[in-house]
Symmetry: C2
Subunit: 411 residues, 2 copies
C-alpha cells in the first residue's frame, strides 16, 4: 500500500467525460489499496479564457487580481473531480491552496512555494478520503491568492508529494511518456521507461514540453520519483505504464545520449563590428539585462584585425524587438556598425548522463550535421548536454540524423 499523488493536466480534465475517465483511474488506485491525493489543472482553455477577460478590461492587469481570477479555473476542476470521485463511491473533498494551506512568496503570477502543511490532508487520507487539491495556486502569508505560473500544477503536485512523503507522483498528461525525441518529428523515437532527474531537467529546460522545468527541479531536490503517463492510453497497473523520472542508475548509461530536445523559442542577434575593448561584453549584456531580456547562448567571434569583433547571442523570440531597441538606444556608448537578427533558427540539444564519461560525442554530433550540409551557428555545452543553433528549415533532418547516429532509433 503506497501513498500516491496523482496529477491530471488540462486536457486530461478538458470536459466532463474526461474528468470521469480521470476519476476512474484514481478509483482504480484506491481499489488497489493506495492512499491517493489528486492535483488538477484547469480544464483546457479556461485559463486562457480568463486571461482574455482580464486583458479585455485593461492591457496590463494587476497581477494580484489576475491571480484571484485565474485561480478559479483549478477551483472548478478540483470540485468537479471530487464530485466524479463521489459518484464512483469514494469519499472525496476538494481543497483550495488557502485551505491547505499551501504558502507561497508574493511574486504574483509566478509565485514560488515556500511551505505546504501536510497535516490536514494527511489526516483526511488516513480517514479514507481522497483529497483533491486545486493545482497552480497558493496563498501568501497575508492571505492573498497567488498562482505559480504556466504549468504550475506540475509543481504543485511534486511539492505536495514531497510534503506528504508520498511514494510517487504520477503525472497524467496528453502524451504517454518521455521520448528520445519528439515523435511527431522523429518517427523512430521511442519511449523511455526510465530517466534520471538530471537528464529530465535538461530536456525540460531545453524545450521538451512533457514536464514543467520547475517541477523537475523540485523532484530532483526532494528525490521524489515522478511517473509521466497518458490519461488516454496508459492503463493503471500495467507493466510499462509510462516514463519514471528517478535516481540515476547504472542501466541508464548504456547509451551516452538519452534524448534529443529542440526549441523553436529562440532568435539570434548578431552585433556587428563591435570595438573589442575590455568591458564591452559587460556593457552589451548589461544593456539587455536592464531591458529585462534574458540571454541564452553567447558567442564572441575572434576579431581578425584585433580591433573589432562580432558578438552573437540568443534571446527569446518574444523578447527580440525589445532587445534590438535597447541595443540601438545604446549604439553610441557600445560602438557597433549594425545589428543582424534571425528568428528562423532552432536549438537542437543532445542530453545524457553518459556524456560525462564518453569523449567524442560533440565530434560525432558536428560530423553528423556537417555530412547533411547543416551549418552550425552557435554552440553551447554543459556537463550533460550539447546544444547547437541551426537554421529552422533543417530541424527534421537534423533530429532524424542525430537520432540514428546516436543509436536511439527504435527496433
Amino acid at each position: 500500500m503506497a501513498l500516491l499523488v496523482v496529477k491530471f493536466g488540462g486536457t486530461s480534465v478538458g470536459n466532463i467525460e474526461r474528468i470521469k475517465n480521470a476519476a476512474s483511474k484514481v478509483a482504480e488506485e484506491v481499489r488497489r489499496g493506495h492512499k491517493v491525493a489528486v492535483v488538477v489543472s484547469a480544464m483546457a482553455g479556461v485559463t486562457d479564457q480568463l486571461l482574455g477577460y482580464c486583458r479585455g478590461v485593461t492591457p496590463h492587469p494587476n497581477p494580484r487580481e489576475t491571480d484571484a481570477i485565474i485561480a478559479t479555473g483549478e477551483q472548478v476542476s478540483a470540485g468537479l473531480m471530487a464530485l466524479a470521485l463521489e459518484q464512483r463511491g469514494l469519499n472525496a473533498r476538494s481543497w483550495q491552496g488557502w485551505q491547505v494551506p499551501l504558502k507561497t512568496d508574493t511574486a504574483h503570477n509566478k509565485a514560488r512555494i515556500l511551505d505546504i502543511n501536510p497535516a490536514m490532508l494527511r489526516a483526511r487520507l488516513e480517514q479514507g478520503e481522497v483529497a483533491v487539491l486545486a493545482g497552480f495556486q497558493g496563498m501568501t502569508e497575508e492571505g492573498s491568492i497567488t498562482t505559480l505560473g504556466r504549468g504550475g500544477s506540475d509543481t504543485s503536485a511534486v511539492a505536495l508529494a514531497a510534503a506528504m512523503g508520498a511514494d510517487r507522483c504520477d503525472i497524467y498528461t496528453d502524451v504517454d511518456g518521455v521520448y528520445t525525441a519528439d515523435p511527431r518529428i522523429a518517427a523512430k523515437a521511442s519511449k523511455l521507461s526510465k530517466i534520471s532527474y538530471e537528464e529530465m531537467l535538461e530536456l525540460a529546460s531545453l524545450g521538451a514540453k512533457v514536464l514543467q522545468t520547475r517541477s523537475v527541479e523540485m523532484a530532483l531536490r526532494f528525490r521524489m520519483p515522478v511517473q509521466v503517463l497518458s490519461t488516454f492510453a496508459n492503463e493503471v497497473g500495467s507493466d510499462m505504464p509510462g516514463t519514471l523520472v528517478t535516481d540515476e542508475d547504472e542501466t541508464m548509461e548504456n547509451n551516452p545520449v538519452t534524448g534529443i530536445a529542440h526549441s523553436l523559442g529562440d532568435a539570434k542577434i548578431t552585433i556587428a563590428d563591435v570595438v573589442d575593448k575590455p568591458g564591452i561584453a559587460a556593457t552589451i549584456f548589461g544593456t539587455l539585462a536592464k531591458a529585462g531580456v534574458n540571454v541564452g547562448i553567447i558567442v564572441q567571434t575572434g576579431s581578425k584585425d584585433g580591433i573589432t569583433t562580432n558578438m552573437s547571442c540568443t534571446v527569446a523570440r518574444s523578447d527580440l524587438d525589445r532587445a534590438v531597441e535597447a541595443l540601438k538606444a545604446e549604439q553610441a556608448a557600445i560602438g557597433f556598425t549594425g545589428i543582424l537578427t534571425d528568428s528562423s533558427v532552432v536549438k537542437v540539444s543532445l542530453v545524457g548522463l553518459g556524456m560525462r564519461s564518453r569523449p567524442g560525442i560533440a565530434a560525432t554530433m558536428f560530423k553528423t550535421l556537417a555530412d547533411k550540409g547543416i551549418n552550425i551557428q552557435l554552440i553551447e555545452t554543459s556537463e550533460i548536454n550539447i546544444s547547437v543553433l541551426i537554421a529552422e528549415e533543417y530541424l527534421e533532418l537534423a533530429l532524424r540524423s542525430l537520432h540514428t547516429a546516436f543509436g536511439l532509433d527504435s527496433e
Copy 2:
C-alpha cells in the same frame, strides 16, 4: 461624504463592457467624495453554466463541492471589477468571502450569514481603496466555502452595509426601480420613489422580483436604506435615481395601496369530501410537510352536511406532483374522495401600509374583480396585504383593473 455599499447584479456585469460601465458609476461616487465598497454577482449565465457542469458529473452533486465550484463565478467578476476600477485610476482590491471573513452556517447552497468582520474592509476604505467583495459566498467556521442561495448577492450587499455601518446600500439591477405593478403587464404602472421596508418585504415575498426577500428582511432588521437603480438607465447623482427602500413616513400613506404584486409560481390543490373531524387538517398538512412541500394559502370550505368538507391550498408548481403523490399514499388514513389540481392560477396581491387604517380595501378589490367577471378562488390577508387566487387567463385584466381602481395609474 457618505459610506456606500454598491451592488451590481449578473446582467450589470454580464460582459466586459458592462463591467466597465459599472466601474464608471463607482468611480463617479468616489469622485463625489464617498467611500465605496462594491459587491458583485457572477456574470449573467455563469452560475447556471457551472451548475450544469456539476449535474453533468452526477445527478445529485454534493452541496459542499457545488458551493466551491459556483462561488468562482463571483470570484471572477469581483477580480474583473477591481481591474476595471484600477483602469479608471482608483485603488481597488477584490476580496473573497473567506478573506473578509464573512462567516455563515454550514447549510451549503443556502447558507445564512452569521457574522461579517468589517475591520479589514473598513481600514482599506479609510486608506482610500475601493473594496470589491465577491457576493453570494461566505465561509463556515471550519473553513469551507458556502453560498447563500439564489439572489444571495443582494443579501451579501445589505449585510455588508449593515456590518460596516454604511449610510446606504445601492443595488444596481436591470430595472430602474420598484413599480406599482409589473410595467410589462400594467402599462400605466409608475415607479415608486420611496417604499417602506415592510411593503417591500411583502412585495418581494409575493412575487415582485426586484429584490431578493432575504435581503429585504436584512434591510428591515438593520433599518438599512436600500436604493434600487438600473445600471443602464439611472445616472449617478440625478434627482430621482431609483426607488429608495426606507423607514415608513407619513407621505407614504396618501394611498392605501402602494403596489400590486403577482406570482405565477403557485398551483391549487383541492381535496374533495374530506371527513370533517378534529385533527384532519393536521393530518393533511402533516403529510405534505413530511413530503417537503411548503403550503401557501389554506382554505376550508364550510361543510353543508356537517360531515364532509372541501380543503383547498396552494403549493409551489414545482412541488405539485410530489404533493399529490404524498396525499394519495395517505388517502385511506385521511379519508377523501378525490384530488383536483389546477396549475393555471395566479396570485394577485395588493400591498400597502395604508391598509391598516383604511377599511374597505378588500371590498373594493372584490367588487372590482367581480365587475370584470373574474372569479376569486382563494383569499388570504395580512395586516398590509390582500392576496387572491384567480385563473391565470385573467392576470392582465385583473392587474390593470385593480391598478386603476386604487388610483395607481400614472397621470
